[in-house]
Structure formats: structure tokens, C-alpha cells
Amino acid sequence: MSNIFSFSVGKKLIMSLMGLFLIAFLVVHLGINLTLIFCDTTDNFNIAANFMGTNIVVKVMEITLFGGFFLHIIYGLILSIQNMIARPVNYKVANNSQTSFFSKYMFHTAVIIGIFLVLHLFDFYIKAKFLHGAESVIINGEEMHDLGALVIERFQILWVDIVYIVALLGLAFHLHHGFQSAFQTIGLNHPVYTPIVKGLGLAYTILVPLGFILIPVIIYIQHS
């Protein structure tokens, strides 16, 4: 019996589950980031960020997160390449059927997110963890990386902010289709609940990227 990943629908299931996991992760991520602008000091951010870097449960989640990203990206690439091969000769008149606009650009928005992801991980994850890019602080008697200071320092650079904002717009467009699409892929399509899921998806796509975008904008304004 061939395994589930050898089927197109099986690969899509993994993609959608990992996508939903990433969607949930981003809410936590945003919550932590917002302490940077809503708290007077960066202490809360540092405590949360270091907790995320050390706690064992979070460690397991971190592996799931990296694994999730990996599978989502790999299968996304495989399926997209197969889709391009499936129509070797294109139409003269491009298709103008009534469809969801952003679903046509999932691959393009994914490339934007992908490029950002590399920069982002290098900037805040690899630098702090392996390259001693962050200073040390002592909060409540515990020594930890001063990630808050690192973030605030980076966000005072205009081009970093612009790259960050472009990436989040890419993410918003990716999720505008992706959020509700994941439910359909899992097989959940219901006359009552699907419109609710679409509404929630829209709210998420606007609020979460907006929340992330506010942070560099406010830090930039405060420090200039």
C-alpha cells in the first residue's frame, strides 16, 4: 500500500495542517512582539523570547514549527511545479473565470515569505543564538539574551522596516486564500460554518499582519 504522501491529496493535507499550525503560531508570536510597544520596558519581551528558546514543551513545538515550515515549503514546491507542467502550452486569452484573486498568486506570495524567512531567521534567530549578536541582560536574577534591544535596534533601520512590511503584505495575501483553503483541503465545507471560517480568515488576514506591521512603524517613529 503506497503511503499517503504519494497522493496529491495527501500532500495537500500535510500542507494545510502545517499551514494551520503556522497560523496558530503567528498569533503567539504577535502576542509576544506586541509587548515591545505596549510595555514600558523590553523585559516582558525578553522573558517570553527566552522562555520560547529554553522551555522543553516549547522546544518540541519549535521542532514541529521548523518541520512544519520545511514540509509546507517542500510540498508547496513539488505541487506547484507539477501544476506548471500540467499545462505546457498556455492559452492565448488568459482565463477570466470568476475565482478567488489571491489564490492565483499563492506561489508568488510564498516566494516573498520565503525570502523574508531566510533574512528573518538570520537576523534574530541565528545571530542571537550562534553569532553572539545580542547583548546579555539580567532580568529577575536570570541572565538572558537582550533580544528586545536587538529588535529595537534593527527596526530603526528604514530598509529593514520596508522589507518587513512587504513580507507581511505577502503573508496577508497568502493567508487571504490560505486560511479558508486549508479547511476545504481537510474536507470541511459546510453551508453554515464555511462562511464563518471565511469571515474569521479575513479578520485574521487583516489584523495579524497589521499588528506585526505596527511594531516596526511605531519603533521607527519613536526613535527618529
Binding site: A86, R87, Y91, Q98
Partner: protein, 247 residues
Amino acid sequence: MDLTLKIWRQENAKAKGKFETYKVKDISPDSSFLEMLDVLNQQLIEDNVAVPVCFDHDCREGICGMCGLYINGRPHGPDTAVTTCQLHMRKFNDGDTIVIEPWRAKPFPIIKDLVVDRSAFDKIIEAGGYVSVNTGGIPDANAIPIPKKDADISMDAAACIGCGACVASCKNASAMLFVAAKVSQFAHLPQGKVEAKDRVKNMIAKMDELGFGNCTNTGACEAECPKEISLTHIAKLNREFFAAKIL
């Protein structure tokens, strides 16, 4: 109506095709799209300018699924919920230029002009789109009770005529709507449930193997399907697949 037609002409499967431009005059707005092409072909024969344009058709009343042209960027043309043979010329304006292309997908190779080979769909059906019945005496119609709700959903799915417009419209050339309709029509009936697990796995495996693209829930198929097969059937297909694979 006077029209300019830009039509894909291709000698045979191997030949390199190209668009040719033809003009037709005095087309009745009440004629069908295929009748308009009949007029063109008659004219091509009489004027001896080119061999007639090849296009598929059979019933000309929207039930066989043979006809299928990609007209001005939409499978089956600008109207909704109709096949090409049911499309009326009144949906166009006098003086319009109409671009007519064949279905484009790797598993649907062009045979000639606007005719494509859709036997890939037959292969998917052969992989499981049937119920293996033991033919005995005629059973009582009420012997197996089927809830009206299920019968309706099954009937909606069974409306699929296998035209291929879903593949033609999909940006990924995915056959998911077709396969979903064929799986769903049986999955809702007691007779179909017996072989449900093998059916869904085998039909999806065949669809993948033949080189159709993968569904991204874009919804062009649903928008263009002449029988208005709904995306809910694709969700059902996915559920059937997970039930077969995981449970």
C-alpha cells in the same frame, strides 16, 4: 451579426498549430455557437479557402459532454451553466472578435484543431468510477431506503457530463472537480459505499499518474462547470480519501 473569429488550427497531434482569422457574416443571434461554426465551415468549403474547422459535438443539447471550446478566455464561453452547444450567439455583440481555443492540458493532447483527446477521463473512470454489480433479478426500488438528502446530493454529482471544462479552466489543469463528482455520486449511496475506499484511492492515484495538476481550491472549475458541480464535492472527495487512508 458579423464576427471575426480567431481559431486555433492544428493539422494533427504532432503538427505545430497557429491561429487563423476568419470572418462570418449575417449570423443569427438566436443560433447556437456550434451552428455559427457550421456556417463558417460551409463557407470554408464553398469558397474553397481552407479545410473545415474540426470541433467535437454530439447531442447538441447539453447532455453528452462532447463539445467544449475555450472561448474568449472561458471554457464554454461567456454564459454560465451551459455547454458550448447551448451557448447562444446573442451573448456576443455585432462586430466582436472571438478567440476560440482547444482545452489546454497535458493529459488532453490535441488531436486536430479544436478537438482534444479526453480518454484520460475514461482511464480515471476505469480505475474505480463504477459499482461492481451482480446482475440478478430486478430488485424492488424501495428495498434499500436512501434518505432524500443523500439522493439529492448524489444526483447533483451525477449531473457531471465529463466535458473537461473544469480541467480547462483550472490554472493547474486539475481534474479534481470531475473526480470529486464521480466519487461523491457513489459515496452518498449505500451501493457505492461497499467499494468506497478502493474507489477513491484508485481514482486519485490514476488522476495523479495521468499528469493532471493539483487542486489549490481556486474555484475556476465550479465557476465554469456547465452542470454547476459544487466545490463541496471536492471537500467530500478529500474526506473520503482521508477516511480510506487514515481510518
